[in-house]
Structure formats: structure tokens, C-alpha cells
Amino acid sequence: MAISTSEHPRTSRPVKPTSRLRTTLWLLVSLIVVAAFWSVKIKWSALADFPAQLLKYIALMLLPPDWSQFGEALNATILSVQMAWMGTVLGIIISFPLSFLASKGLAPRVVNAPLRFIFAVIRAVPEVVIAILILSVTGLTPFTGALALAVGSVGTLGKWGYEAFEGVDPGPKEAVRSTGGGTLALIRWGVWPSAAPDVFSFWLYRFEINVRASAILGLIGAGGIGKMLQDNVQFRNWDAVGMLLLVVIAVTMGIDQVSGAVRNKLIHGTWRAPRLAS
């Protein structure tokens, strides 16, 4: 009675089930991509010269880089890192209490909803635009850049925070409630201990993002990498740009390594990358 394959030989492989929705979605996505390629105003012929041009500029930048600019490049990069650090710290201070208030079950709904909306709005606005707004208060200083990064960080840290707080194991929360603990006790003993490693790693991750984002703020006058970039591109000092490029790569990779090691330690050896859905 066992199903015998010799009595019913398969002539072909079983057909894969198809989902109509999936097919439609793929068609739609392909259509959008084709439409974008077809409609964009680009002289595709420029691509033919691209390899030669690229080699030429790489040679201009790196063969050799302008070592006399090394000190200035390092200072500019450090200033950007300082901006990123300050922005991250301020962002953490602001977003930390807010993400508890935005978590369902820890604060009333009337408080949750507007905070979540504010986080979403902040996430939609690029940091450079935030900086343009802050400019009129603090002027063209690195502090403006740090404040812009702080506001930008609130959007992502706030969201990652409430997602982590809502996602914790309900067991400890029930235990705190059953012993008569109030909301503060619930946060301290039911939520924070299980969410803490994730939240710490979000902070580190946001710092890595801010290190990269701080470069752009120099373009509007906040100083750092962006300012040095603009000053030298303007006068086509490509060897100085090359020096800056090398320093930025070295410093950023160093920071990523340290931050990765700290994160590894925090999450106890298991390499789990933070959830990146912004």
C-alpha cells in the first residue's frame, strides 16, 4: 500500500505553485525600474569615458595624496566625529524617555500616537534640512551640526526604542505586575533588563550613522569633513581631497571596528546585527 514510485513514474518535476499577487508585484516593480531608466535625463554616452576618467581622477587624488594636508584632514575628520558623538549623546538623552512614552502599555495611547508621528516626521527630514532650520539660532558652528544630528537621531532612536520595549518577553512584566509594581517598577524591572542590550547596540549603530551623516553638514558651514571637501573641490585640489578620503576611510573603519567589538561584548558573543528597519 506504500506509494510506489515505479507504478506511477513521474515524467516531470512537480510544478512550483505560483502566487498571482507575487507575479503582479514583480511585474510592477520591473515596470517602475524600466520606466525610471527610460525617462531619466542622462547622457549614457558619458559612461563610455567613465573608466578612463575615473582612473584619471583617482591618480589625481591618490598618486600621491597631499601629505601636507594630513593634519588638516585629521582635524576635520575629528571635528566631524565630535559632532557625531555630541549629536548621538544629545539624541539619546532626548529620545530615551520619549521612547518609553511612545510604547504601548507603558503610557496612554493619547501619548503614544503623537510621539510616533513626530518620530516619523523627523525620520523623513534629512539632517541637512534640520541644520538649516537650527542655523538661525546657533549660527554657523559645529554645535549646529551636533544639534541637527541630535534631532535626527531622535527620529530613529525613538522608533527603535519603543519597538524594543514593546517586543520584550512578557514574563518579567507579568511578574512585576503580579507583585503590585507600578509603571516605574514595570519599566525598571520588567522591561529595561531585557531590552537594554538591544538599546545599547542601537545607540552604537546610530553613532556609526552619525559619523557618516556629519560629513554633509559641513557643506552648509558646520565645519568638519564637508567643509574641507567643499573648500578643496572648489579649487580642484584633488590631492588634498585624496588625503581627506584616506583619513576618513581609516578613522571610520577604526570606529566601526571598536563599535562592533563593544556591541559584540554587549550582546554576549552572539553576533546579532541590530534590526535596521528604520
Partner: protein
């Protein structure tokens, strides 16, 4: 241990604070300027809208093309950058190092250099975004490859399949849903990034932001912010819906 960490963190913060010239009195003295600006910002100049359409479209086109090209290039690279799918330690280290390097350069730096290489306009912006995308997608996808179940791959190798074939048959199907969701996430990032890289001439809304900023035309800036806001919020909800369907 904790005490030392706190001292270290406070020390770094003070160092950074001195570096960026934290200036709280300026905030107290000038906050009125901000309120004046915000009042202007709350009154967008809708008459400016027709002038923004070409830049808005270009931003969208750049994001779509860069995401498409970036994801096609990233998929094979992700397999080379994961310990689970690349058996050659030398190649693995090399690819990972190159990827870390690509990821460490800010998108604006790529854009500024590429504007010089291929000229002002969307092409330089797309190329900068592609590099930015490769950095992100390869990292995320290779990390999820590291965490996948290797049973099927081992079986494929045991039957005499080569590594590329075993990866294609056993690992690719496992990774596709997360790949699709990372691509959508990258697309959202691209929309935001493509509004900004125009500041150095790489096409899109950024060029417009640069123009209105230099002349302090806040009513027009406000309309641009509103457009970015609507674009990002709409695409974010569309992509989170799509992600649920695909995964």
C-alpha cells in the same frame, strides 16, 4: 568596570563638547529667530510647486535606478562576503575589507568626486547612491547568510555539487525574502539620500534646497520639506506593505 566605562564616556563627551563649541547661551539669546523661521515654514509657498516637479521626479528616478543596480551588484558580493557561503578565507577577507572600505566613505564624498568625474547631474548621483547601496546591502545580506541553516547546503555539497551550485540551490532561496526586504529598506534610505546629495551638484531635490537656502526663501524651503515628507511617508508605508507581502 561600569564605573570606568562611565568615566570614559563622560570624558569623551566633554572632549566632543569642547570640540563642537557647545553654546547654550546662544540658544537662550536667539530662540526667537527660530520661532520667526518656523512661522515662515508653516506657510509653504504652494505656487512654487510646478518648479519643483522636475527635481522631484529626478530624485525618484535616481533612487529607483540606484536601488535596482545596487541590489543586482550586491547579491553575488554578499555571497562572497559571508563565511557560510565562501569557503576561501583569503577571498573572504579581501571582499569584506573592500566592503568595509566602501561603506566607510560618506555618500556626499562619493557624490562630490563623481560630479567631477562624470559631470553635474543625475548620473553622478546614481553612481554615488549605488556605492552607498552596495555597502549597506552586502553587509546586511551577508550577515543574514551567516545566520542561515547550513543543512541543505551541506547536503548539496555531499552529493558532489560545487560551492556556487550548492549556494545557488540551497542558500539563495533561504535568503531571498530577507534580501527583498533589505532592498526595500535601502530604497527608503535612497529617497532620503537622493534629496541631499544634490547639494554638491549630483541631481535631484538637493540642488533646489541649495538654491532656496542661499537666499533664505523659507516659504519655498518649507514646500520642499513638505514634498520630501509626503514622499518618504508614502513610500515607507508602501514598502512596509510590500515587505509583508513578499516575506
Amino acid at each position: 568596570m561600569t564605573g570606568a566605562a562611565v568615566v570614559l564616556l563622560v570624558g569623551i563627551t566633554i572632549w566632543a563638547g569642547i570640540g563642537v563649541q557647545v553654546d547654550l547661551p546662544a540658544i537662550a539669546a536667539n530662540w526667537r529667530n527660530a520661532t520667526a523661521n518656523i512661522i515662515q515654514l508653516l506657510q509653504p509657498d504652494y505656487g512654487f510647486f510646478p518648479k519643483t516637479i522636475p527635481a522631484l521626479l529626478e530624485t525618484l528616478q535616481m533612487a529607483v535606478i540606484a536601488t535596482a543596480v545596487g541590489s543586482v551588484v550586491s547579491l553575488p558580493l554578499a555571497f562572497l562576503a559571508s563565511r557560510a557561503t565562501n569557503p576561501k578565507p583569503g577571498l573572504l577577507t579581501g571582499v569584506r575589507f573592500a566592503m568595509n572600505m566602501i561603506r566607510s566613505v560618506p555618500d556626499i564624498l562619493y557624490a562630490a568626486i563623481l560630479v567631477a568625474v562624470v559631470g553635474v547631474g543625475a548620473l553622478s548621483g546614481i553612481m554615488a547612491l549605488v556605492l552607498f547601496n552596495i555597502g549597506i546591502i552586502v553587509k546586511l545580506v551577508s550577515e543574514s547568510l551567516d545566520g542561515e541553516d547550513l543543512g541543505a547546503q551541506e547536503a548539496a555539497l555531499a552529493t558532489g555539487g560545487s560551492w556556487p551550485k550548492a549556494n545557488r540551490a540551497a542558500m539563495l532561496p533561504q535568503i531571498l525574502p530577507s534580501f527583498a526586504s533589505q532592498v526595500l529598506f535601502t530604497f527608503e534610505l535612497n529617497i532620503r539620500a537622493s534629496t541631499v546629495i544634490g547639494l554638491v551638484g549630483a541631481g535631484g531635490l538637493g540642488i533646489l534646497i541649495d538654491n532656496v537656502r542661499s537666499f533664505f526663501r523659507y516659504h519655498e524651503l518649507s514646500l520642499i520639506i513638505l514634498e520630501i515628507l509626503v514622499l518618504v511617508l508614502v513610500l515607507e508605508s508602501a514598502s512596509s506593505w510590500l515587505r509583508k507581502k513578499l516575506v
